[in-house]
Every structure is written in C-alpha cells, then in structure tokens.
Amino acid sequence: MNKYRCTVCGYVYDPAAGDPTQGVKPGTAFENLPDTWVCPECGVGKDMFEKM
C-alpha cells in the first residue's frame, strides 16, 4: 500500500496508520478512503493528493 502526500500542505497519508481523526482504521489503502475524506491538516479533498 502506497503513502500519499497532500500537494497543498505536505501532510502524508500513511495507510499503516490510517486517520483516527476521521474514523479511518489502520490498514486502509488510500484508494479505499471515502470520497468525503479530506486532508486532516488543511481540509482539501483526495484529488489534491499524489502517490509517493
């Protein structure tokens, strides 16, 4: 599973850690994040992320 970086603020989504602030369990691939998920740091959408 790949990490993805927010191109706006630099936050890195690590699938191993998930995103507890939005109820995303560890082990969730970026591709499987819901479309409503946003960058927990700056709030922009999934489309602003790029694969690392």
């Binding site: 706006v8 603020c9 946003v38 700056c42 709030g43």
Partner: protein
C-alpha cells in the same frame, strides 16, 4: 442610505490602516496601506461578519456604535482565524458577551490556539444556514483559500458574497466601492494580492470557484475582508482569478538579478534589450533595490523568468537566493526560465539558480550564460542573442498554446 451601508441594513464597520507598509511580518509590502473589513447585518437577529486586526478594535467598535449598541449582536461569523480578522474578537466580546461565534471546525481549533478563550462557538459546514429573520446567511467552507479554516458567507436575499480574504486587495481608501476608485490601481492591487498570497493555491481556487458557480447562486456584490468591494461587475474579478489560477500568461519576461561590481547588471541590460527587440514585453529588477512584492506581481502573468547572479563562494548572492526561495513557494506552473551571471574563477551561481528553478517545477528553456569578470562587447552581444533566443522560446510557446 449612510455611506457605510453597503446593502439595505448591511453596514461596513471595518478599519482603515493607512500607514501599514509591511504585512504578514515582512512578507508583503503594502505600499498603499490596507483595510480590515467587518460587516454588520441588522435583522431580527444581528450578525457581525469578521472583525479587524487587534490594534484597530476601537475603530471597529466606534463604527458599530454608530449603527447599534454592540450588546445587541447575536452572532459573530468568523470566516477566517488569521489575526488581522479575528484580532478584535476579545475586545468586541466584552461588549456582546451573549454573542455566539460561528465558523468551521478548523476555525474553532485555530481560535483556541490563538486566544485560549472559552467562547460559545458553533461549528458550521458547507450548506449550513443561519436564519436572521428576513435575511439568511449560508456558509461555504473554503479550505486553503487561503488557510485550512477559511470560509465564505453568502446572503441570498442580498446576492452578497462575503469571501473574506479571497478577492481582497491591500488598498487603504476612504471609498468602499470599485466604481469610486481608479480601476487600474484597484486591479493592480488585486493582482499583487493574488500573486503574493494566493498564487500557490491556484488549483484549490479553481475548484472552489467551480463549486460556487455550480451552486448557481446569484452574486451582485463581493465584499472581501481587505480593500474595495466589487459591485460594478463582480464577474470581472472572478474571471481574473480563473485566469490566474489556470496559469494563463502573456508573452512577457521578468529579469531579476543581483550583482556585485556591476558585470551581471550589464549582462541583464543587454539580455533585456534582446528580449525587447523581439517584441516581447520585458521588466528588469535589481533585487537589492526592488520591492519583492512588486516583482512577484509582475511575474504572475509572465511566461518567462530570467534570473541572474554573480558568483560568490561558488553560489549565488544571498538576496537573490532568498527571492528564489519565496518564488519557489509561489509554485509557478507552465513557465520558462533561464539563468545568467558573471564569475571570477570557478563559477557556480548559474548552476545553483538552475537547480532551484528545477526544484520549483519551472522548465529551463536554454542553457545558462556565464561571463568571466567584466563582459567584453563581444560577450555582451552574446547576452543580447541569449535574450533573443529566450524571447523566441516564449513566442514559440505562445504559438503552440
């Protein structure tokens, strides 16, 4: 209607900062000062949208008192947590302790980390509405336009958009509206503002404007948090934002350089001549005596960047290095660049400039040009040809676009 009444029962109650010359620390030179715009909406319930920079709290409070007793304020909408808009909150809240703050979740977090106060705060999301009586306010979250907490407020009954920092300008005036000031100056300040604050956020801005356009909400007035209110033709500034956000440029080159003993300056002038003789617009700045804010404004619509420096300790000079760091942060896209400079022995500045341009995602159009010590007439002719070659690349791009 009072001069400050921008719409029926909606009042501008902000502050004019005539004398501020540096903003955001020293990241933005505000040669024409600025304003902090706060708006008071009277209805069965009374709402204040945004406040002003802390040192101007009493000016805002005086203007509110000219309209109503501040104790009557029911809601304070906080579109943006940054201190030039929230700084007066602690003062105004002393006068209207029952007022409830409204903003995004990130705004709540941000306010807590600025003021550490225990305030009544209601978190809102896109689509949420606040009913004031005859008028309603609806909210549109706008993360990273230009902070994570940013939000727009819209009043459908008045077709009024309050987008906080978006569409703003640092421009201190006694007038409030676009049709009351010189349009060229207004657009210059709007351009400077976009270039120096919003440039890196183009893709977010494109998305947000698209989202608002899809909502199909009529807008006949845009009242930002700095500067002049747009009412003559709000589509004009929206279209300008779309053009900048799409990185649309004109055939124009901006030369920025730093020189030790004048040799790199001589090269710069001859390169400029070559560009100009190819009928491409050119602007030339010695970074040490120029205003960075102004240069970034000139770069916003320029296709080409020409960067020069003498070599010092195998690197570029420090002021141009700092400038390029700032430019890199602006994330310019779809631009062409080239580098030049004079050196004494090993050289190095040109390579360093090219390196940082690549890092910034700017395409190098041609190999850089270096001259040992002082350029001869022959070498200056090469600089002229270097300028012509670069102008040709800009024209080529224009034709293929």
């Amino acid at each position: 209607m009072a001069k400050s009444e921008i719409k029926k029962d909606i009042f501008w109650v902000g502050a004019v900062d005539w004398n501020v010359r540096n903003f955001h620390g020293h990241t933005y030179s505000t040669s024409r000062g600025t304003t902090y715009n706060s708006y008071l909406i009277l209805d069965e319930k009374i709402a204040l949208v945004d406040t002003v920079y802390g040192p101007f709290a009493q000016e805002m409070i005086r203007r509110i008192k000219e309209v109503i007793d501040p104790a009557k304020i029911d809601y304070i909408v906080v579109n943006h947590v940054e201190t030039d808009h929230s700084g007066a909150l602690p003062e105004i809240l002393k006068l209207c302790p029952k007022a409830r703050l409204m903003g995004t979740a990130k705004c709540r977090e941000g306010l807590e980390k600025h003021y550490y106060g225990k305030w009544d705060f209601q978190t809102v999301k896109t689509g949420d509405k606040l009913n004031l009586g005859k008028k309603t306010l609806s909210f549109i979250e706008a993360p990273m336009v230009h902070w994570p907490d940013s939000m727009f407020t819209y009043c459908p009954q008045e077709k009024l958009l309050l987008p906080n920092d978006a569409f703003g300008q640092h421009y201190a005036t006694a007038e409030r509206f676009d049709d009351e000031v010189d349009n060229a100056v207004l657009m210059e300040e709007a351009t400077k503002y976009y270039a120096n604050i919003l440039w890196p956020l183009g893709s977010i801005i494109l998305g947000k404007i698209g989202e608002v356009q899809k909502m199909n909400i009529p807008i006949d007035m845009i009242a930002p948090s700095h500067g002049i209110i747009w009412r003559r033709d709000p589509a004009e500034i929206i279209n300008a934002y779309l053009s900048w956000a799409k990185n649309q440029t004109v055939p124009k080159a901006v030369i920025v350089y730093e020189t030790m003993w004048g040799a790199t300056a001589k090269m710069a002038e001859r390169i400029a001549q070559g560009i100009s003789d190819s009928n491409i617009q050119v602007k030339l700045f010695d970074i040490v005596v120029s205003d960075r804010t102004e240069i970034i404004k000139e770069m916003l619509n320029a296709k080409g960047f020409v960067i020069g420096s003498s070599t010092h300790d195998n690197d570029m000079l420090p002021t141009i290095a700092a400038f390029l760091e700032f430019l890199k942060g602006s994330k310019p896209r779809e631009r062409l660049a080239c580098a030049f400079g004079s050196y004494g022995w090993a050289g190095g500045a040109t390579k360093e400039i090219e390196g940082i341009m690549k890092e910034a995602g700017i395409e190098l159009a041609q190999a850089g040009i270096g001259v040992k010590y002082t350029p001869s007439e022959e070498e200056l002719n090469l600089c002229y040809e270097f300028g012509k070659e670069f102008a040709g690349k800009i024209l080529q791009e224009k034709l293929s676009a």
